[in-house]
Each structure stands twice: as structure tokens, then as C-alpha cells.
């Protein structure tokens, strides 16, 4: 699904993902985690990935929900980035810096997070707590 940086597009994809999770019986805690990860990844894609590019460029969002797992990917059209270059926002010297927490939150709430290719595509997996996966 292509998502533009407008609230109606973001809410449409969010509603689709959360409804699919609800149908599969994921609890509120899990839906909170996915909503946060999706919001943070979209903000990163539009604000950083598409920085200096046409503001109307969409990002590609794909997701798959099964009873035990959610897979979510977000791909922007920017030059990509190296996640290891992002400073650790939890260090004392960065605690009062107002930006740079999105990646940390995504990593904390998801089971696994991978940056693909030049770093313009993020693939995340969320395993349902307590489920036997594999």
C-alpha cells in the first residue's frame, strides 16, 4: 500500500493493520506496540528518508498478520541510512536532545528489526507473546 505524508493515508494503513490484528485476537498491548512502530517508521521515512525530496512522494507499506506473528515493512524512496550512525538517545549527554528516539522504540517493541539494502527499507517482525512460532 502506498502511503503519502498526510494523516488520512497514515490512519488508513494504521486502521487496516490494527483491524487485522484484532481479527486475529492480538491484545491491546500488541496493537499498541505495532501502532507505535508503524508511526515511528513512517515519521522516519518521511522526515529523514525523504528529506530534500518531493514532499508528495509516497512510501510503500506492506504487512502480513497471522495468529502468531505480524510482519511489517516500510520502504521509502530516499538514499537510505546507516542505523549504527544514529546516536544512542539514552546516554546522559543525549537525554535532553529532543530527537532520535524512534529507532530505539521500534527496536524495543518489535521482536526483530532489519534494515535492507541501502537502508531505505525496514522490515520488522513481532511475535505474539507466548506463541510458539517457527
Amino acid at each position: 500500500m502506498h502511503v503519502r505524508n498526510v494523516r488520512s493515508d497514515i490512519e488508513r494503513v494504521e486502521t487496516g493493520l490494527l483491524s487485522a490484528m484484532e481479527r486475529h485476537g492480538f491484545e491491546d498491548k500488541s496493537r499498541f506496540a505495532l501502532r507505535l512502530a508503524l508511526e515511528e517508521a513512517l515519521v522516519n521515512a518521511f522526515r529523514h528518508g525523504h528529506k530534500g525530496l518531493n514532499a508528495d512522494l509516497p512510501v510503500l507499506v506492506e504487512y502480513q498478520v497471522t495468529p502468531s506473528r505480524v510482519q511489517l515493512s516500510i520502504e521509502d524512496q530516499g538514499p537510505g541510512f546507516q542505523p549504527e550512525d544514529v546516536p544512542d538517545p539514552t546516554l546522559d549527554e543525549n537525554l535532553e536532545v529532543p530527537t532520535g528516539r524512534g529507532l530505539l522504540l521500534i527496536r524495543s517493541f518489535m521482536t526483530s528489526v532489519e534494515y535492507i539494502g541501502r537502508g531505505n527499507r525496514v522490515e520488522m517482525t513481532y511475535d505474539r507473546p507466548g506463541s510458539q512460532t517457527g
Binding site: L36, E39, E40, V43, T90, E96, P98, R101, G102, L105
Partner: protein, 119 residues
């Protein structure tokens, strides 16, 4: 979804300005910017402001909202004021813990306890 109206409920309790959010979800960047500007207006209109931000009714917030809280905290400190946060939902409190912002902010369970700490 952004409208011309305020995104905050503001009341004065003793010497403390208590701010509540109208939105349940503090995610939209335009709304977050408006919230930041409204609270900055409150902070900048007082010397040594005492501000309590209540998260009652808030279900979600993003890292951009955390950034705005940090900016507000910095403005309050610059004016020798004090900031308290209260009524944070356990899931959102987890976000503060992960980012270690529970160390930066003084967080109280209730508005009463936060107001007492400011008096």
C-alpha cells in the same frame, strides 16, 4: 484532523498551571507542533512557571511528542521553573522507561501528588 481550536485544557490550581490533552492520540506531527506552541506560550508568560502536564485520557504518543516534552522542559528550566508529569498510562510509561526519560522528568501517579510536590 487539525483544527483552529486549542488542543489543550488548561486550568490553574493554586500556583500551578495544569495542562491536559484533548487528543487521545498524540501522534500527528501538526498537532504535536501546535501542542508545543501552546505550552510554550504558557511557559513564556510566567516567571519561574510551575507546570503540571496530565496524561489522563492519552492512549498513544510518539517520539515526536517526547521531543516536544523535552523542549518544554528545557524552556521551563531556562526560566527557573518546574515541570511535573502525571497520570501516565502504563503502556506509555513503558515508552518513558525505554527512552530513560523517566530519569529526566519528575513523574507522579496522580495530579494531587504532583501538585503537592510543587507547593
Amino acid at each position: 484532523m487539525s483544527s483552529g481550536g486549542s488542543r489543550l485544557r488548561v486550568k490553574k490550581q493554586d500556583s500551578v498551571t495544569v495542562v491536559e490533552f484533548i487528543d487521545r492520540n498524540i501522534l500527528d506531527e501538526a498537532n504535536i507542533q501546535q501542542i508545543g506552541e501552546e505550552i510554550a506560550g504558557i511557559v513564556e508568560s510566567a516567571n519561574a512557571p510551575k507546570l503540571l502536564i496530565s496524561f489522563e485520557n492519552v492512549d498513544h504518543l510518539s517520539s515526536a511528542a517526547l521531543g516536544t516534552l523535552i523542549t518544554i522542559n528545557n524552556k521551563i528550566k531556562a526560566r527557573q521553573g518546574q515541570l511535573r508529569l502525571a497520570n501516565i498510562d502504563p503502556q506509555i510509561f513503558e515508552v518513558f522507561k525505554i527512552t530513560k526519560l523517566d530519569r529526566l522528568f519528575q513523574i507522579h501517579d496522580t495530579t494531587d501528588s504532583a501538585i503537592k510536590s510543587l507547593s
